[in-house]
Symmetry: C2
Subunit: 350 residues, 2 copies
């Protein structure tokens, strides 16, 4: 099994762990027979779950851990005290070269803190960012940062743009992704100073990026760009607002179709159509937040997802490994003149 690709799984992270983690792994094995897993977690719980799928059992190694990173654990505490946890040991497996990537549905802050500590950032990257896909009117959009960095300067935003651009090229396969910077208006003079500076670097810095300038909140799902770049505070609020609107629509539609006899009848006929809509916006399809800029592939699954959603998160990790996302980052950042990534500082007096 030399060509096998190994993924480390934190089997204890998430609201429905370890059940959906094992089921998700099982789903992945069905479509990607050359993937194998190292499962970190409570062996007593894991072994009977894995045993249900003989195929999975054959290609999975279970490593017993007794510690768990809980959702209310602070990142600093998790880093200090949870060194034998399923999450930490799964990350270690990537650092030690046993696994090509790690997927966890656990505590996001702890995962980022541990991954940064254990794996370190790639050369040229000051701060890793969290990215995700979203559906849009014209194909998928990559958005970053989603909460790893609440305050970002111009140079961080430019680094996010470069990483998002490479992600869209390698993983989404877009030849020339359009990159936009989230702001409160499209005019050059809008927004914070850091945003304006980042825009001017992206516009004039000679980076190999198709930068379209500032975009607004509505442009994300309207598909104006392939990569939407923002600070972690704004990105987190925008992403969650998007989730809230989706839930709202789902509920409003359900209520309307339950509101009268005629609407109940019409639902029967409209069901296949509505199912198509649900599939297109299915949050499970978009499950998997990528921690970009780390020296290793790290994917965070939504804590409340099911097996299908977790399988998609594993799929994202496999894609990042297969398409050599990190190698591409190292190559591209290496060839970039560091001066391109930030404004020239005033020379020190001789």
């Amino acid at each position: 099994m030399d060509t096998a690709l190994t993924i480390a799984l934190d089997a204890m992270g998430g609201d429905r762990a370890p059940g959906i983690v094992v089921e998700g792994a099982s789903l992945v094995r069905q479509r990607s027979p050359n993937v194998r897993f190292i499962l970190f977690g409570d062996e007593k719980q894991l072994r009977p779950l894995v045993a249900k799928d003989p195929q999975l059992l054959e290609h999975t190694e279970i490593r017993h851990t007794s510690e768990v990173v809980t959702n209310d654990m602070k990142p600093s505490m998790a880093l200090r005290n949870a060194r034998q946890s399923s999450m930490r040991l799964a990350i270690n497996a990537v650092q030690e070269g046993e696994a090509a990537g790690i997927v966890s549905a656990g505590n996001t802050g702890a995962l980022m803190a541990m991954a940064k500590f254990v794996l370190k950032t790639l050369t040229g990257i000051d701060r890793p960012a969290i990215a995700t896909f979203l559906p849009s009117m014209r194909g998928d959009v990559v958005m970053l940062d989603l909460g790893a960095n609440l305050e970002c300067n111009a140079s961080h935003l430019v680094q996010f743009a470069v990483m998002g651009n490479i992600f869209a090229k390698t993983v989404l396969g877009l030849p020339e992704p359009v990159v936009g910077l989230l702001n409160v208006g499209e005019e050059e003079l809008k927004g914070h100073e850091d945003l304006r500076e980042a825009a001017s670097i992206l516009r004039e810095g000679g980076l190999p990026i198709k930068f379209c300038g500032f975009i607004e909140g509505n442009d994300i799902l309207e598909g104006a760009v392939d990569v939407a770049v923002t600070d972690g505070f704004t990105g987190n609020v925008a992403l969650k607002a998007t989730e809230g609107v989706s839930k709202f629509y789902t509920q409003v539609l359900a209520e309307a179709f339950r509101s009268s006899l005629l609407s109940r009848l019409s639902y029967l006929l409209a069901r296949p159509t509505l199912r198509k809509v649900r599939q297109r916006v299915d949050p499970r399809r978009y499950n998997g937040a990528m921690m970009l800029g780390l020296n290793g592939v790290v994917v965070k699954s939504h804590g409340g997802t099911d097996a299908l959603g977790f399988a998609n998160a594993i799929g994202v990790a496999i894609d990042m490994v297969t398409f050599g996302f990190n190698d591409k980052i190292i190559r591209d950042f290496g060839s970039l003149d560091a001066g391109n990534m930030s404004r020239p500082k005033a020379a020190a007096p001789a």
Copy 2:
């Protein structure tokens, strides 16, 4: 006509002015027969439009203006150079007591700059904020700021919370609105320092506000609060992201119902139900952004709205006047100990 309520209208602002402004005024007259208007704009265009509705003609005064504030005009330029514009003269009418409020679908930045300059802020308010209603799973939500203040300190956020609270009480008629502060997590330690300080003032400052703490982006449309408070940058992005998702859903539904013969058939039956959904989320129902904290009622209509949307924006202005929103602000801010609104500063050395 002593009990008449007069609203000044900037008849030249917005993409479809002056047509939809006059038609909107006409719609308002049908439901509120004691409202009269002063229309500021090009008399030659306005007179024949108003003449179509004899009722409106009788209760409308047209004031000719030849200048127009365009959408690409910078606020500072508009303030300096557009002193004879329809927008400016309509605002002046409020300042001079001729009108109880003003509605414009024109340039937001210019409207805010002129309104601040002409009307001034209410005592106790450092910065006016832009607020709007949004639908949610449990009734309407007020969100502010939406872009008037890109960077806000703790005291600004607290003032927005107080204004939003009064708005929800007076205009929405809620006896005890629940107020939340938008953040990237619900835990007390999340987010910027200014946010945490604002939360601690709202929690412990003894203000007459039912403060529920931090909320996240999804909580807005899920109806966790009646008032969502945030800085203008985040609020603007969140609002526009919400608009983008709504457009996206509308298009995805339309595409799905056009995708096959069965789905086209089912659409015929489901149409009344889908119409109900559209009505519930109709952006025209939620048209009208309120500029709160000014010494006068100022409402901004969406630039691309139609007559019904513009009529709703006028309706919001009428409600603010009728329910005495500004009087209530003056009263409440007057009775608040200024110390409640900000952290006690270290006493100066004696």
